[in-house]
Structure formats: C-alpha cells, structure tokens
C-alpha cells in the first residue's frame, strides 16, 4: 500500500510536472514520511519473513519505492522552478541545465507570408548529438521541454525621405533585431499588455510599443478597421526634444507616420520554450523495474507456498 502511494505520487509528478504543488514543503515532507514508514515496515517484514523469494520481494519493493521517492523529493526541493526561454529568430540561447543551446529558427520578419505564420520548430543543439525538437513533450535529462506560442512584433522603419532604418534594442535580449519579443508588461486602463521598445539611431528616435490582441482592439473605442491585433506606438527623441504627433495606433501590417518616421508593425506568433523540471527518468525506470521485480518475486513466492 505504501509502495503504491509513493509510486503514484512520484509518477503523477512525472506526468504533470508543471504543478506548483510538487515543489511545496508539505508535499515533499509527506513523501519523506511515507519513505520512513516504508523503512520501518520493511525492517519488520524482513525480520518475520523466512528470507528467500519473499525477502527479496520485500527488499526490491522497498528499494524501488525509496528510489522513486528520492527522485521525487530531489525534484520537488532542489530543481529550479519552471522557466520560459524567449529567443529572437536566429538566436542561440545556451541553457546549461539542458547541456546545450536552444536554436531559435530564422524567419523573415519583413515578408511574413501566411506560411511563415505556422509554428516554427525550435531545436535543442548539443555537441555531437542530433538536434531535438521540443514541439512535443519529451524528457531531456531531468527536464521536460514544451513549446509555447507567443505574440511578437516585427517592425519595418523608414525615415521621412523613405530610407530604410536600422532598428536596435539597447535594452533587449538581442541588440540588432527588428523583432520585439514583448517580454515586459504595461498596465493601461486595467489591462496588462505586452510591452517593448526599440531605437532608430539614425533618426534619433526611441519608440515604445504596446501590443493589443484582436479582442482588446475590438473593445477599444475610436479604433476603426477590422478587429485584428495592433500596437500603440509612442515615439520619443533621444535628446528629449519635443516631437509633434508622436503617438499612433497601427493594426498589424498597417504603415503609420509617427514622430517623423514611418513604422509598419507586423504581429505574428513565434514560439518560446518552457523548461519544467521533472523527476529523473533513469531513477524512475530503475525504481519501476525494482517494484515490478518485487511484485513478480512476491507472486511467485505465493504460488510456491500455495
């Protein structure tokens, strides 16, 4: 019974690892209490058993359950909390926990076709091994990777004469990128909205960008056009000089003139990766094999004695 309780608790942790409950103290103390209880019961049973198959069965069950519990407690108390890795297209982000780098695929932000709106796979690149795509759930060491779609904004910028402009992100994860990952948030009228910013060094402009979903756009008053995602653009001069007409709203794909520059935002979906710790897979396998072996040995001992 105790073995079943431990195995159940830890296997649930492996199947739905993203629940916060597995990292709480009470859950892990309860698991530890079960192990102590199991130890006491096992000792008593080994003393009364005549050894042989019955003793081996008891020992294998206890050892298997103890290994499972250890894997569960180690994951619950020591493993890092779930983290989301956001990378710009074309970027490689080293993740030591995974022993490699997540390679975020390149896309063409300026000529986004309907095809490029499809989810693009991210690959985990590890020296000497085949890249792994975390599109579906799967174990990588003691972690499970999950691909999460996020709304990001690609920007195309021109100056007043029509010349194309370099976009930089002095505060972003990638300095030279026209794709805003929208990792920050801003409160506007009770709404929590994705927020990011970029610079146009050649035009001496700094632009703040707030992203609205299609539903939020539909709820806004005074925004004409079909309900589709859009962004609020607020332009500042990098020398703090006043700029007329410095705020504008643009639907995805719509070009607007604001603060003496012409900006065209394109909202699209790009994946991030969620890394969730889970009980060690080798430990789970060893524990389950021992428990299965223990059950089998116990069954055979029962048959023999009958």
């Amino acid at each position: 019974m105790i073995v079943v309780a431990i195995a159940g608790a830890v296997l649930v942790e492996a199947v739905i690892p993203d629940r916060a409950v597995f990292h709480t103290a009470w859950y892990n103390v309860a698991l530890l209490a079960l192990v102590v209880w199991l130890g006491v019961r096992t000792r008593a049973q080994l003393r009364t058993s005549a050894g042989g198959r019955r003793g081996a069965s008891i020992l294998a069950l206890a050892l298997g359950a103890a290994i499972l519990a250890f894997a569960g407690i180690a994951n619950g108390l020591l493993a890092p909390d779930p983290q989301t890795i956001v990378g710009a297209p074309g970027q490689q982000v080293e993740v030591n926990d995974l022993g490699g780098a997540l390679a975020f695929p390149q896309i063409d932000p300026l000529r986004l076709s309907s095809a490029s709106r499809q989810p693009v796979p991210i690959a985990l690149v590890r020296g000497g091994r085949n890249p792994v795509t975390p599109a579906s759930k799967g174990y990588i060491g003691s972690f499970i990777l999950r691909s999460i779609p996020r709304a990001v904004v690609g920007i195309d910028a021109h100056d007043a004469s029509g010349a194309h402009l370099t976009i930089t992100q002095p505060t972003g994860a990638v300095f030279l990128s026209p794709i805003l990952m929208m990792e920050s948030a801003q409160q506007i009228s009770g709404l929590t909205l994705p927020y990011d910013s970029f610079a146009l060094p050649a035009a001496h402009r700094i632009v703040k960008v707030v992203l609205f979903s299609a539903q939020q756009v539909a709820a806004l008053r005074g925004i004409p056009g079909p309900p589709q995602p859009g962004v609020l653009l607020a332009v500042d001069d990098d020398t703090d000089a006043p700029i007329p007409h410095a705020i504008a709203f643009a639907h995805s794909g719509q070009s607007v003139s604001v603060g003496n520059v012409r900006l065209q935002p394109e909202v699209f979906i790009y994946p991030a990766v969620e890394i969730i710790s889970a009980p060690s897979l080798p430990a789970l396998v060893i524990g389950c094999v021992l428990i299965a072996g223990g059950l089998l040995a116990g069954f055979r001992a029962d048959v023999k004695s009958a």
Partner: protein, 191 residues
C-alpha cells in the same frame, strides 16, 4: 561434508555484507544520477559573437549595394572577415579605412572583407562607403539576420570565417589595424 552452524552464520554475515554494499552502491549511483543535473549552475545566456568559434557561419541570401544576389556560399574556399556596420555608427566609420587596407593587402591570398550593413537603404550605404574609399563588397542585411545570428552586442561586430565556412573568431566593438592583422594571420598559414 556438512556445513557447521558456525560456518553457516559466517556465510550469512558475509552474504548480508555483500547485499549491504551492493545496495549502498546502487543508492549512491541513483543519488548521483538524480542530483547531478540539478546543480549545473548558471541560467540561460547568449554566447555573443566571441562564443561562436567553431560553429558553421550562417548563410543567408541577400543583396549587395549594387542590387546583386549574394551569399557566403560564393566565398567558400576564401578567408572571410565579415564586418557588421551602419552609417550612423561612428566607430564603424573609423574602422572602414583599416578594413579596406587589410583587404587590399591580402586579396591576392584568398582573403575577402565583407561589410554587412544592418538595415539601411542601398543608396545611403553605397554613397557612404564609396566616400570612404571602400572597395570591398558591401551587403545589405535589411532584416538584420546576421545581427541576430551573431548575437551582436553592438556595432561594429566582426566575425572571421575560415575557408571551410566555420567561424574562427568573433569580436564586439571596433578593432585596430594591428588587431585585424593578428586575427586573420593564422588563417593564411594554412593556405
């Protein structure tokens, strides 16, 4: 010959010790397997251009400042110094004449400098580069794909690529003429 009770006790003790040692070893092994991945330290980070050494250089199809289609594949077999720059960047401007001198001195040895402008128009880039006497190829990276792929931390960014298309070194910021020469010199030893 039958086993004496004393021998049987000794044998049992011996077997139990073997089992204990075996169990301890298994538990220790499981502990290492379970705990080791949880103590790798450092969080996620981006390597930057200097951390790309040994990686294959990414190849993107783009246009040069005359409107021609170009790609790194056209330069396989040559030592390539790829310099990311923009007209609004003063250190980039300061570096261009030294890059031109390096290119002129080593072009006959299978060496090429490629200036990759980040996100600007062809006309602006062409006029600017020619005014500084630049004769090496100028590419237009309108999507800033190389800026993202090299995880450039600023401008200029310089990446040196060997004849097999692998990144040898990456640099953040402007280089002196001496640093440029030193960076490419080892690649000419393997001609």
């Amino acid at each position: 010959m039958e086993e004496s009770p004393l021998e049987r006790v000794r044998r049992d003790i011996y077997l139990r010790n073997i089992i204990r040692i075996g169990l301890s070893f298994v538990l220790l092994l499981v502990a290492v397997v379970v705990l080791l991945p949880l103590f790798r330290g450092e969080g996620p980070h981006v390597a930057g251009p200097a951390g790309l050494a040994g990686e294959p250089a990414p190849v993107f199809a783009m246009q040069d400042d005359t409107g021609g289609q170009v790609s790194l594949n056209h330069y396989r077999g040559k030592v390539v110094l790829m310099n990311l720059w923009a007209t609004w960047c003063p250190p980039c401007r300061a570096e261009l004449p030294d890059l031109q001198s390096l290119y002129a001195a080593n072009a006959s040895r299978g060496f090429v400098v490629i200036g990759v402008d980040q996100g600007e128009s062809a006309q602006r880039t062409r006029i600017f580069a020619r005014s500084l006497g630049v004769r090496f190829p100028i590419w237009l990276d309108r999507d800033q794909a190389y800026g993202r792929a090299y995880a450039a931390l600023g401008l200029p960014t310089t990446v040196i690529i060997d004849r097999q298309g692998r990144i040898v070194r990456g640099f953040d910021g402007a280089l002196t003429a001496e640093q440029m020469r030193e960076a490419v010199k080892p690649l000419f030893l393997h001609t």
